[in-house]
């Protein structure tokens, strides 16, 4: 697979992303280190969406005219591209949603839960994998259980055997943490969950964009991810789930597209995946995501991952060299990805972010929608630098230089 790809050439790749050439103010070039929040989009994706809107725009599954056929073929073609990108054997297992958040809400809405049942999540989840389960538990009378964290930013699995029991119906956790960068051992947790017959849902919002993910071997029953973090547009996300699971679950939203037959007495539902796609879907966005997946496949996810691992190591070295800086999350390269949170002694992340912006360096500051994890580490917020396939050592150097300026300003 990898041998077919051209060697990974960041300078050339950066040319595919016009935004990376802009200045944030005259004379201050953009240094984009916020790809975990959203990635930039290559020309190939922008062109595909423009071409769709200029030449093929029509509603899908609703007409026999030429444009409707073309739009439907492009939309369903995108589904097939996404399916093969993640190793799904059947494209009907790919449900298009608005984003990861909607994908996880979908599952939390339709999985049957009853009083006495338990749902297990972790303290490092994004709010979008916390709140839907809190709501589901409130609705059903089920109980929410939490896997805790260790001091160095990993899941504390020492009491997994007690947490996951016959009562557990769902185990839902993040593959790669957006706050800590930790990559979690999916197979280990999934094996335990499957022993008790629980459904395993993995939030892959930060893993599918950055590493090869193969749903056939991952161990999860359902996986959520979001287009805009993987070179695609906003407005499109994916819920992948085992076909038999999708078929068994009741529908989510009701409306057009998701029905088989509607009478005044009741309705029957379309086959999956359409059962879960009520209303006109985000068609241009799906086309854009299909182009993003092509772009990533052409580079090769192994190569993307290797590049990011190398650069993350360089970033960690740089951060460790800054006086008074503490990395929140795994301090070494072991099982971690390219989102690195840190705090500077005595300087609030808000001030760090503001001063870095003066140097054109875009990082995210705040609790990163993972407040329970921040509380666990006794911090209100962090600054986070996050890398992607177009990031380079110059970006990291600019960050480290910027942090030096922050220190001297507040020093």
């Amino acid at each position: 697979m990898t041998s077919a790809h051209a060697p990974f050439d960041v300078a050339r790749i950066r040319k595919d992303f016009p935004i990376l050439e802009r200045e944030v103010r005259p004379g201050v070039p953009l240094v984009y280190l916020d790809s975990a929040a959203t990635s930039q989009k290559p020309l190939a994706v922008l062109d595909a969406m423009r071409d769709y809107n200029e030449r093929h725009n029509a509603n899908v599954h609703r007409g026999i005219h030429t444009l409707a056929e073309e739009a439907t073929a492009l939309y369903e073609g995108a589904r097939e591209k996404v399916a093969s990108f993640i190793g799904a054997t059947d494209s009907r297992e790919v449900v298009f949603t608005k984003n990861s958040t909607e994908a996880m809400n979908l599952l939390a809405r339709v999985v049957p839960l009853h009083p006495g049942d338990e749902v297990v999540i972790t303290e490092m989840e994004h709010h979008s994998n916390i709140v839907p389960w809190q709501l589901a538990c409130e609705r059903s009378g089920a109980t929410l259980k939490w896997i805790g964290l260790t001091d160095d930013g990993r899941l504390d699995l020492s009491n997994l055997d007690q947490l996951v029991s016959e009562r557990t119906k769902v185990v839902a956790f993040v593959h790669q943490s957006n706050l800590l960068g930790t990559v979690n051992p999916v197979a280990t947790i999934a094996a335990k969950a499957h022993e008790v017959g629980a459904i395993v849902m993995v939030d892959a919002s930060q893993s599918v964009p950055h590493m090869p993910v193969d749903v056939a071997t991952l161990g999860a029953d359902a996986v959520a991810f979001t287009g805009h973090k993987m070179c695609g547009p906003t407005g499109i996300g994916v819920l992948w789930a085992r076909l038999d699971l999708l078929e068994e679950l009741p529908p989510f939203l009701g409306g057009g597209e998701m029905i088989d037959e509607v009478t005044m007495a009741g309705s029957t539902y379309a086959a999956v995946p359409h059962k879960f796609e009520a209303g006109t879907p985000p068609i241009a966005q799906a086309v854009g995501l299909g182009a993003a997946v092509d772009y990533l496949s052409d580079l090769g996810m192994d190569a993307v991952h290797a590049h990011e691992q190398q650069l993350t190591s360089y970033l960690l070295d740089g951060l460790h060299s800054v006086d008074g800086l503490r990395v929140i999350g795994p301090p070494t390269m072991e099982s971690r990805g390219g989102a690195v949170s840190f705090i500077l002694d005595g300087i609030h992340p808000h001030d760090v972010g503001q001063l870095l912006d003066e140097s054109g360096v875009a990082v995210r500051v705040g609790h990163h929608c993972a407040r329970p994890a921040c509380l666990r580490y006794g911090i209100p917020a962090t600054s986070r630098a996050s890398l992607y396939l177009y990031s380079d050592t110059a970006d990291v150097d600019a960050l480290i230089a910027g942090l030096g300026k922050v220190r001297s300003f507040f020093g």
């Binding site: 609030h348 808000h350 001030d351 209100p380 300003f409 507040f410």
Partner: protein
């Protein structure tokens, strides 16, 4: 770039209040205590108000957050402690006006005193909430304290 722009945000007065905050710490007596937070960035404040009749007798607080939010709390206590509620509220409204001015308003130094240093913040939409956090907490706590003491208004 622009050190000038940056300096207009981080005025020396702001940095001074940040480093040496006034009236910090929670004190007794008080009639109302509130806890406010800025959910986007995690700035937090716990604030108490003590009224003596119509006068803001004390405002005490504990919190954490960025330099802007912490300095603003310190400046705010300087401005409201010892004033009649009505007058303190007028200062609050003037500060609110300044924050909504997008940098277009010449602040009234007679009313706002050290708080004029925050004029530059109004050009940074993401930071306005930081500057207002303590003020909003004070307003909330004062209203509750007035209710508590069966206040006159």
């Amino acid at each position: 770039m622009s050190a000038p722009q940056l300096e207009s945000l981080y005025q020396e007065i702001i940095l001074d209040h940040y480093r040496k905050p006034h009236h910090r710490g929670l004190r007794d007596p008080y009639e109302a205590e509130v806890h406010h937070l800025n959910p986007t960035c995690g700035d937090e404040i716990t604030l108490r108000v003590h009224l003596d009749g119509e006068t803001v007798a004390d405002v005490s607080y504990e919190g954490h957050g960025c330099s802007i939010s912490q300095a603003s709390a310190s400046v705010m206590t300087d401005l409201v402690i010892g004033k009649p509620i009505g007058e303190a509220t007028a200062v609050h409204e003037e500060f609110l006006r300044l924050m909504q001015s997008k940098g277009e308003l010449e602040p009234d130094e007679d009313v706002l005193e050290d708080a004029v240093a925050f004029a530059g913040v109004s050009r940074y939409p993401a930071r306005i909430k930081c500057a207002l956090l303590a003020w909003m907490a004070w307003k909330d706590a004062t209203a509750q304290a007035v209710d508590q003491t069966g206040g006159s208004e």
